[in-house]
């Protein structure tokens, strides 16, 4: 710990930011409670323990499966080279930022009653495999597609960054594939697991449309559904705040566990080692993992592309509204991504600069806790806060969206940037101290050049996340303010399924381009800085 450079400013900035986010969450809940005093809601009729139990089981299974699948996939992708590999990596990564509904419909067009697999099976063998895509298994499947692929992308970045000397040493020692994983890969992956697990658990815990649509009925529900009903249908605001607080409290236990773990050094920078293939069974296993994941993950997305890039696309592209929505999405996405980068750097640099476990935990928690605040509560709370402050909701809407998007993307950004930043602070701390570098020069000379690719991944994540979920301004009265995802949902809600499919495909292409392009671009920029 002595080797950490002394950086009080970084720590102070991180403390201020973490406190700001915590205060914002409290304000949102407080604004709703204040509004609730006027309205008497009906007594809550929700079996909270039951919902908590169901949701925790679902979220826990999702987390374990996603991490396991993600790790296997990252391992396979790190070893195998094939034409179109970058595209496949981009497709995997884009699952998490694609609206959940799109992924769910993609899954159904492969695995559903009328999906490709059933159609093929009926044509070839004359029987149907039934409909495996509904129920708890359906929820888990969809979540693992979304979250497992995300975990794989983050872990692949760590594996790709394993330093050349370590790989060369390993190769010359003749490590078996298993030894190689245990001795070389696992230490670099370990650091990402707590953050990823926390994020995936929170996403699954608060998942709403997927759980409802694929769950097959109210038996498989999350607390989030109950909170939505309390806010919208029952208008029981005090009850909604109570439920939201329950959700935040439960999620906080998971967040606490993840943030309290001691930082684990990981790899950073890009590996330049010549390829080192595994042989024999391991290689077969890698191919099998890749093939299964491609069928499971890539086919659904491919079906989205095929459905959408057909005849309907001309009509969509011909609408001026489409171009306005595209512009709004790009502006919002860019602004949110940059803000996310700033926030994530402030928090991650601050956390990396302190060796105090309690402080590290406190700095990490608020950013994650924001993910646990139900979307419908956020939209109500922000609406009330903006009114309290005396702003016209429609005017404030774009700023609220950018802020809300950045805060939602922040945990993902921290999971991407946190582990390599920690590692840099610890492995280069002595050097930085002995050179007497200032904090700014430490960033520009040491951290930034080593982080280029990770910053690209993070920006792509935050950008795609922020292309336009406008749930947070649901009440703001902004019908002219339209983004691509919103346009898609509106089309879906007014019989225009073809338009929706076309927009979904365009969105997907955009996210793939972002995920393939941005990491490369930033690696190049950072290399130039080096």
């Amino acid at each position: 710990m002595l080797t950490l450079p002394h950086r009080p400013l970084r720590i102070a900035a991180a403390i201020a930011l973490a406190a700001g986010i915590a205060i914002l969450i409290v304000l949102v809940l407080w604004a709703i409670l204040a509004a609730a005093t006027g309205s008497e809601g009906s007594a809550s009729r929700i079996d909270i323990p039951h919902l908590l139990r169901m949701t925790s089981i679902q979220a826990g299974l999702t987390t374990v499966l996603s991490i396991a699948v993600g790790m296997a996939l990252a391992w396979a992708l790190n070893r195998l080279r094939f034409p179109g590999r970058d595209l496949v990596v981009g497709l995997f990564a884009s699952a998490i930022v694609t609206p959940g509904m799109v992924v769910a419909f993609g899954l159904l067009s492969i695995w559903g009653r009328n999906g490709w697999i059933n159609q093929a099976s009926e044509a070839l063998f004359g029987f149907s495999i039934g409909n495996p895509a509904f129920g708890l298994s359906g929820i888990l499947f969809a979540h693992v597609v979304l979250d497992g692929a995300f975990a794989a992308r983050i872990m692949l970045a760590r594996l790709d960054a394993i330093p050349t000397p370590r790989l060369k040493t390993g190769q010359s020692l003749g490590l078996t594939p298993w030894q190689r994983f245990a001795i070389i890969d696992w230490p670099s992956l370990r650091g990402t697991v707590p953050g990823l697990a926390a994020i995936i658990f929170l996403l699954a815990f608060t998942s709403f449309p997927i759980v409802l649509m694929l769950g097959g009925g109210p038996a498989n529900q999350t607390l989030e559904v109950a909170i939505y009903a309390a806010v919208r249908q029952d208008f029981d605001l005090a009850g909604a705040v109570r439920l939201a607080a329950t959700q935040i409290a439960v999620c906080s236990l998971v967040i606490l566990a993840a943030s309290a773990l001691a930082p684990i050094p990981t790899s950073f920078g890009a590996s330049t080692a010549p390829r080192w293939r595994d042989r024999g069974l391991a290689r077969l296993l890698q191919m099998l993992v890749l093939m299964l994941c491609t069928i499971g993950f890539v086919l659904p997305l491919l079906s989205v592309l095929i459905d959408g890039l057909g005849a309907g696309i001309g009509r969509v592209v011909a609408q001026p509204a489409f171009w306005w929505a595209t512009t709004s999405s790009l502006v919002i996405g860019t602004a949110s991504a940059l803000l996310t980068l700033l926030l994530a750097l402030a928090l991650a640099l601050g956390r990396g600069a302190t060796g105090n476990g309690l402080l590290r935990t406190l700095l990490g928690m608020p950013a994650f806790a924001y993910l646990a605040v139900p979307a419908v509560v956020l939209s109500l709370g922000f609406f009330l806060l903006v009114r309290q402050l005396g702003f016209a909701p429609a005017t404030a809407a774009p700023f609220v969206v950018i802020l809300a998007n950045s805060l939602l993307a922040l945990p993902f950004a921290m999971a991407t940037l946190g582990p390599p930043l920690e590692a840099i602070a610890r492995s280069r701390g002595k050097l930085i101290r002995s050179l007497g570098l200032s904090g700014w020069r430490q960033f520009t000379l040491v951290e930034y050049p080593l982080l280029g690719r990770d910053i690209g991944v993070m920006l792509a994540l935050a950008f795609c996340f922020s292309l336009g979920d406008l749930g947070v301004i649901a009440l703001f009265g902004t019908q002219d303010f339209q983004t691509l995802p919103l346009m898609m949902f509106r089309a879906l809600g007014s019989y225009r399924g073809n338009d929706a499919a076309a927009i979904a495909a365009i969105l997907l292409v955009g996210t793939i381009v972002a995920f393939v392009g941005l990491p490369r671009l930033f690696e190049r920029i950072a290399d130039a800085a080096r």
């Binding site: 067009s109 449309p209 649509m213 109210p218 939505y228 919208r232 249908q233 009114r387 009265g477 929706a500």
Partner: protein, 335 residues
């Protein structure tokens, strides 16, 4: 302190904004759901039509994500709301809306309307309606069930998709429909439907698309849904199944806020909305039946749609007193 700050800000904003509105054109601010205000929805046509006859006014749509969202927003804003009118509440929440005391009497003579039931509401003016119904595709379902009991008697692999009554209007409509048709036997009907329910979605759009993708044989939607496929896609294979028990109608309504200082203009707007000119906009933009007889002015696809033999009616009071219990019973039965 806060108040004076806000006053100062308002004055400042007023100084900046004043020159732009020197002409003082009255602006009618209308809360609605976003599908109504969308460029393909009725909003633009209604706005243009009313502005042409109001003698110098501007209609401004302010859209929330859902009709219940508009009601919740005025409830939160109370007397300070900027809305003059809400367009798009439906009969299932009209009672709750009325109970807020925020709505004024419309004072219009609506005796000339053509609805399944005579209209007597003093606060709300209807502007379109349709019956809740299950839709099916004639390519895959040759003989649709003619009642809930026939549906229940079908093999379990005959699947339907419905919506959660806590988040989607049609989902709530189905709960009320079954309660209206079967009374105390409703839980039994729900239990019978359970094996047929593929899933319960959050929104109408999700279940409808599951149906269109062939994942389910029928989806809970509206008796007017087939009109979209006929008119916009030239596809006449989507039909609404008519049930012998009778159907519940969803009637969409508009109401004037008491707090509005443009009561007369607002009344004029509601009268326009229910007039021939206003109603002509509705069917092929909102895919619902008009509330007056449009004669030759309606697309024949609507005129030929089957109408249920019987319309079930539930009063505001019945809905307000029982809907929570009915929802709980439904959730317990399909759990």
């Amino acid at each position: 302190m806060v108040k004076s700050t806000r006053l100062a800000l308002a004055v400042l904003a007023g100084l900046v904004a004043a020159p732009a509105f020197a002409e003082e054109v009255p602006i009618l601010k209308i809360y609605t759901y976003d599908g109504f205000a969308a460029e393909w929805g009725p909003g633009p046509g209604i706005k243009a039509g009313f502005e042409a006859i109001c003698g110098g006014c501007v209609v401004e749509w302010i859209a929330a994500d859902s009709s219940i969202g508009t009601l919740r927003r005025v409830q939160l804003e109370g007397e300070t709301t900027e809305a003059d009118i809400i367009v798009g509440l439906d009969t299932a929440i009209a009672g709750e809306a009325r109970a807020t005391g925020l709505f004024a009497d419309h004072g219009l003579d609506l005796s000339g309307l053509k609805l399944p039931e005579p209209w007597t509401d003093a606060q709300f003016v209807p502007f379109d309606y349709a019956h809740f119904a299950f839709v099916y595709d004639t390519d895959t379902v040759a003989t649709p069930p003619k009642s809930f009991e026939e549906l229940i008697a079908l093999p379990d692999d005959f699947k339907i998709v419905v919506q959660d009554p806590r988040s989607a209007t049609p989902g709530l409509g189905l709960v009320l429909w079954i309660a209206g048709a079967y009374g105390d036997r409703a839980p039994e009907i729900w239990a019978g439907l359970k094996p047929h329910i593929l899933t319960v979605t959050r929104e109408w759009s999700e279940s409808y698309n599951l149906f269109l993708e062939g994942e389910a044989d029928m989806a809970l939607s509206y008796s007017t849904s087939p009109a979209y496929h006929i008119i916009a896609e030239g596809d006449d294979t989507i039909h609404a199944a008519m049930f012998d028990e009778g159907h519940l109608a969803q009637t969409e309504v508009a109401g004037i806020l008491k707090s509005s200082d443009k009561q007369e203009l607002a009344k004029q707007f509601l009268a326009y909305l229910a007039s021939v000119d206003g109603q002509k906009v509705i069917p092929s933009t909102n895919w619902m039946f008009p509330v007056i007889d449009l004669g030759a002015d309606i697309d024949p696809a609507f005129a030929t749609l089957p109408q249920p033999e019987k319309t079930l009616v539930l009063s505001d009071e019945e809905i307000a007193a029982n809907s929570q219990r009915w929802i709980d019973e439904m959730l317990a039965a399909v759990q």
